[in-house]
Symmetry: C2
Subunit: 303 residues, 2 copies
């Protein structure tokens, strides 16, 4: 088996170097693993490559790899690896993000619920204002709605329930069978939005989700509700969010409709908003979790 990898990134947590493949090499001592520093170099591996581990692959480039059997990418969505125009080579997307996202999102919910943006300002001003959090409520007495209940959403549900939160979820495929577990189809959105203290978007970036949580739906949320976007930025237009901010309690965005968010956006200057730079999976565990998943998948192929 000849494996060619190109997993370099300006984000250190996602930048795989030679040493990050050690456990993969140990698991498959017969495999020849070649790590490329650039996409240009990867493309030159040509007919040798049986398996690619890569951040990027264009449809037109599949023809360069005539013996390619599988592509594995750490990304959770098909944003950077396009599909094979001949539909011969399957692309396997990462499914290891749940345990990172569940902690990042829970951290964001705590951050908003405890008004930590204002508390940090209070600290920076050497303030001792004990009334900033007067209206804060215990999370275990609140309801959280997850929109997009795939692999990541299910991880979040499980953790948030263990925290004592009342968790509801909306899924495209949420049918009768799942309803009892608090998972509902999209037709229930209008019923559930007004019930939630926290609304968490974890939708994939596909075209049909563009502008999903529009102004009308944002205004349907409970007054003072907190909105979170940890899926893809296109599901929540920044203009729609800006125009609904008076109604909402706040918003925590890890993804935005353009990244970075445009400098002129009012969301940079709103006390009720927090923005992180698409960093919900920036953890030391990112690389080992991906390599563990690769080993698991390759072992399954061999059995």
């Amino acid at each position: 088996m000849e494996i060619h990898t190109c997993l370099r990134s300006s984000v250190k947590a996602f930048d795989f170097k030679e040493e990050d493949y050690t456990s993969l090499k140990e698991a498959f001592p017969q495999a020849k693993i070649t790590s490329h520093d650039s996409y240009g170099s990867l493309k030159k591996s040509g007919e040798q490559a049986r398996l690619l581990l890569t951040w990027n692959l264009r449809s037109k480039d599949y023809q360069l790899f005539p013996n390619l059997k599988t592509v594995i990418t750490p990304a959770a969505g098909n944003d950077w690896v396009e599909s094979d125009p001949k539909s011969k080579v399957p692309v396997i997307y990462g499914t290891f993000h749940g345990e990172m996202l569940e902690e990042s999102i829970l951290g964001a919910v705590f951050f908003m619920n405890q008004k930590m943006n204002l508390m940090v300002k209070n600290y920076q001003n050497q303030g001792w204002d004990r009334n900033i959090q007067s209206q804060c409520r215990l999370m275990k007495n609140q309801t959280l709605l997850i929109i997009g209940h795939g692999n990541i959403g299910k991880h979040c549900s499980s953790l948030f329930k263990r925290m004592g939160l009342n968790v509801l979820a909306i899924n495209r495929s949420g049918g009768n069978e799942e309803k009892e577990k608090g998972v509902f189809g999209r037709e229930f959105l209008h019923d559930l939005l007004p019930k939630a203290d926290h609304v968490v978007l974890i939708l994939p970036g596909e075209e049909s989700n563009k502008g999903f949580l529009n102004k009308q739906l944002l205004l349907l949320c409970k007054p003072g509700a907190f909105i979170y976007n940890f899926g893809r930025g296109n599901a929540l237009r920044s203009e729609a969010l800006e125009s609904a901010m008076d109604h909402l309690g706040g918003a925590f965005l890890d993804v935005t409709d353009t990244e970075p968010l445009a400098r002129e956006s009012q969301l940079w200057r709103n006390e009720k908003v927090m923005i992180t730079p698409h960093s919900s999976c920036v953890y030391k565990e990112y690389k080992p979790l991906f390599i563990d998943e690769v080993i698991e998948r390759l072992s399954a192929f061999q059995n």
Copy 2:
């Protein structure tokens, strides 16, 4: 039963008004409940008072209440209500703080673990630096040590374990029986400190705990460990913490040795530090939780 209350505070969450006693009145329709706006007014209730609900009571003032049977205070510690010099009137301290503190402390642990102080600065500067959190690790792969494992500590243990954290605890009375549940006596402090990624102080404010986590012990912590103080400020001197900050990953203080912390303290100007103004119980639930506890205690007396 004649109940006299004086639970006014400049902290809105702790400031009980007439309407906050509604459920108490409903539970004990025969009781006469008088709410005083000042300690001076409370003292005038004199021989009528059978039960006091108060933030403050001085030893010398017990003589003013010859028919007093019990004092109930929301405070968790004996900082403001002194004991009866004649040892006739018991003081009941609040034990309802656990469910608030467990959320405040978990929020603080998330805040430090995800470097949210630096992430807020990044946001304030309209930055998009995706490498700030590169060294962050998942909480479920980490060890948290609770020092002071009373009622509040036990609440925290339970929640943090549900989160998947490895929780250790140190208790003055931690003996053999408890050891199996991860609770150890103080003689194990030197063994456990180097193992913990997060060290949470929840010690009561008594004299013997003064300066408990001294510089020597702070330097015994794992390099990069995070320190939290949510008990009383005197257990951790700010000078000791300042002098150990190069060794530590950061500190989150809800209480400080003087409150507010002295303006000249370097802890106000350290990027690795976050300070909140003794606000770990500032929740809308504070007042109803206390009144629920009062009702429960009074019902027990009547049975």
